[in-house]
């Protein structure tokens, strides 16, 4: 059975969710057509290289030993194995990855979340013939665009999906945050402290500080600065929040950075 799919709430999301027997909802990031195409091209180039290496090896090394007949025959068989077996071989033995997929951090897994087996790899790679139809993977592209897990035909039949593997991201220190003056708790009403998600949004903005024009930075910051600023007790501070929203948000971030340092070390154990 297919695991239940509750993406109906996120029609354009590239995530898919899976509920485990432990009643935990797992999130997977799906690989889009662009990355998959890039991985495919790398694999394709590699196959071309191997093909010519085989052709040269067969004609220069093998022919003098075995004669043209046997080496030509062997060459045909190897070309066949390369054409149909490349994806199947790597995805079976490298647990859902080909060299191209590995390069781009992609992996093929079952839609149930575990690793694929030989028949899965075989199915999704043999069915490339259907995905390719009528030319240049048109059928596969339509299938991937219309299924919630971005599955091409081979993936649908094999019950697999291609995900982007998360690499535990070790983000550097927030350079320059110490220059901002922290607020103290009692400057906010009811000891207000922004939620973790809010702080993460501010952190993301802080990291982009130098990429954005100051005006644009303030414009974006206003979205959060406005509701947070309303929690301030002093009128002057509220005015400051409205007039220099980016500056204000970074000071809010600095205020909770003591907590956050512990958090970052906690997650960097990944």
């Amino acid at each position: 059975m297919q695991p239940r799919d509750d993406r109906s709430f996120e029609p354009l999301s590239n995530r898919t969710y899976l509920e485990t027997p432990e009643n935990v909802r797992l999130a997977f990031r799906l690989a889009g057509p662009g990355t998959r195409l890039a991985a495919y091209l790398v694999d394709f180039a590699l196959r071309v290289v191997i093909f010519y290496a085989m052709a040269i090896a067969a004609s220069t090394l093998l022919v003098p030993v075995t004669g043209t007949g046997l080496s030509t025959g062997l060459f045909y068989v190897l070309a066949f194995v390369l054409e149909w077996g490349y994806g199947c071989f790597f995805e079976t033995w490298w647990n859902g990855q080909t060299p191209g997929k590995r390069l781009f951090g992609l992996r093929v897994i079952k839609t149930e979340g575990y690793s694929i087996g030989f028949y899965d790899a075989m199915l999704r790679n043999l069915l490339r013939a259907a995905d390719f139809f009528p030319l240049l993977y048109a059928a596969g592209f339509i299938a991937a665009a219309s299924t919630s897990r971005m599955q091409r035909i081979g993936d649908m039949v094999a019950g697999t999906m291609v995900i982007r593997e998360r690499r535990p991201e070790l983000k550097g220190e927030l350079a320059g945050l110490a220059n901002y003056e922290p607020f103290s708790m009692n400057e906010f009403e009811h000891n207000y402290r922004p939620a973790e998600k809010t702080l993460e949004a501010i952190e993301a903005l802080f990291r982009r500080k130098l990429d954005l024009a100051p005006a644009r930075l303030d414009e974006i910051a206003m979205i959060l600065a406005e509701p947070i600023g309303r929690r301030l007790t002093s009128f002057d501070q509220r005015k400051f929040a409205r007039e220099q929203p980016a500056e204000f948000l970074f000071r809010v971030l600095r205020s909770s950075s003591a907590d956050r340092e512990a958090d970052v070390t906690g997650s960097s154990a990944a």
């Binding site: 059975m1 297919q2 485990t20 027997p21 432990e22 009643n23 935990v24 797992l26 999130a27 997977f28 075995t66 043209t68 007949g69 046997l70 030509t72 025959g73 062997l74 060459f75 045909y76 068989v77 070309a79 066949f80 054409e83 149909w84 079952k110 149930e112 979340g113 575990y114 690793s115 694929i116 087996g117 028949y119 075989m122 199915l123 043999l126 069915l127 490339r128 013939a129 259907a130 139809f133 035909i153 649908m156 039949v157 094999a158 019950g159 998360r166 535990p168 991201e169 973790e196 998600k197 702080l199 993460e200 907590d259 512990a262 958090d263 970052v264 906690g266 997650s267 154990a269 990944a270």
Partner: protein, 336 residues
């Protein structure tokens, strides 16, 4: 409990789980000891609980991502499929494949009809009026076919007796290997395509079966009508046993796939595809194995200049072997 104390308390367990997980994921032989497996399972459940807690308390997505990632990996290791057993390739060909084909023989017979009926019809029609062959195949193809089976009549029967096995390996036999390789590549690719195109409601498969049937029938009718019947039949009769049957088997695989979409029964079409796809791919693999045998026969045996009688006797052995294999292999007890 606040976030800091939670992290402090739980981190050792996560790190322990991660070290077990890394070993469980490694492809090396000795994995986890029995008591480590139960420890793994305990830690895994605790980890799932931690993830749920982090989410419900909204303790930030950095830590949530870390735990989610760990649970994803743990889930894969914990519920993943069984590893392949050694010797499963042999068991596949001795038991699994012939059994599966017999379970799905309706598809086999339909595919056989789609392939052999047009083949016989075009053969009969072309035999009665060879000029019609040009309406099926381009003249250049027919010309090549005719040249292929023309040969020099002197070469065959007279030299046949003198040709010992070792002798034939010298010049002629080496070309055979090239042909065998070519047949493996060419025919198996067609068989795989025949299977894969079954996804399009079986239409692709039906097309491949019909067109191959018509073309093969046309060539047969034409070449025989040109008076090369003996050479032609002597050449094809042996390997056609495995080759034609394998094409029908791959056709059956494609039809299984098409049928899964057209008539999913109580399943959703997606689930039906997944369930029947597993059957279909095994049939296609079996067909590939048969085509490998066919290519070996075609490359190393079919072109041997031997008396026609010998060819026919050996060919009937091959045909009986195919029937016995598909009809009776794997009956009785399960292997091991």
């Amino acid at each position: 409990m606040n976030k800091q104390s939670f992290l402090r308390d739980r981190r050792p367990a996560w790190e322990r789980f991660e070290s077990l997980l890394t070993r469980a994921e490694a492809p090396s032989k000795p994995k986890l000891a029995p008591d480590e497996v139960s420890e793994f399972s305990e830690l895994f459940r605790a980890l799932c609980y931690d993830l749920a807690q982090v989410r419900s308390r909204d303790w930030g997505s950095a830590i949530e991502r870390y735990l989610n990632d760990l649970v994803v990996r743990g889930h894969g290791a914990f519920y993943g499929g069984k590893p392949m057993k050694r010797g499963s390739v042999t068991v596949f060909f001795t038991h699994v494949f012939p059994r599966l084909l017999r379970q799905n023989q309706a598809f086999f017979w339909v595919a056989a009809a789609l392939f052999f009926v047009p083949m016989a019809a075009s053969w009969a029609i072309i035999a009665s009026d060879p000029s019609l062959a040009h309406r099926v195949l381009p003249g250049s193809v027919l010309y090549t076919m005719e040249r292929m089976y023309e040969g020099n009549a002197t070469e065959s029967a007279a030299d046949a007796d003198a040709d010992s096995d070792s002798d034939s390996g010298s010049g002629f036999g080496r070309q055979d290997a090239a042909m065998a390789g070519f047949y493996i590549k060419h025919n198996t690719s067609i068989a795989f395509q025949c299977f894969a195109l079954g996804f399009f409601l079986g239409i692709g498969t039906i097309y491949v079966l019909l067109s191959n049937g018509i073309q093969i029938g046309t060539v047969a009718g034409y070449v025989i009508a040109q008076g090369h019947g003996e050479r032609f039949l002597g050449f094809v009769v042996s390997h056609s046993s495995f080759e034609l049957t394998a094409i029908v088997v791959s056709g059956a695989a494609g039809l299984v796939l098409g049928h899964a979409i057209l008539a999913p029964g109580n399943l959703s079409r997606m689930d039906s595809l997944r369930e029947r796809g597993r059957v279909a791919v095994q049939l296609a693999l079996g067909a590939a194995g048969m085509l490998f045998v066919a290519a070996m026969i075609e490359g190393f045996w079919s072109a041997q200049p031997l008396p026609l009688m010998v060819k026919y006797v050996v060919a009937s052995i091959f045909w009986l072997a195919v029937i016995a294999y598909l009809g009776f292999a794997g009956r009785g007890d399960d292997p091991r």
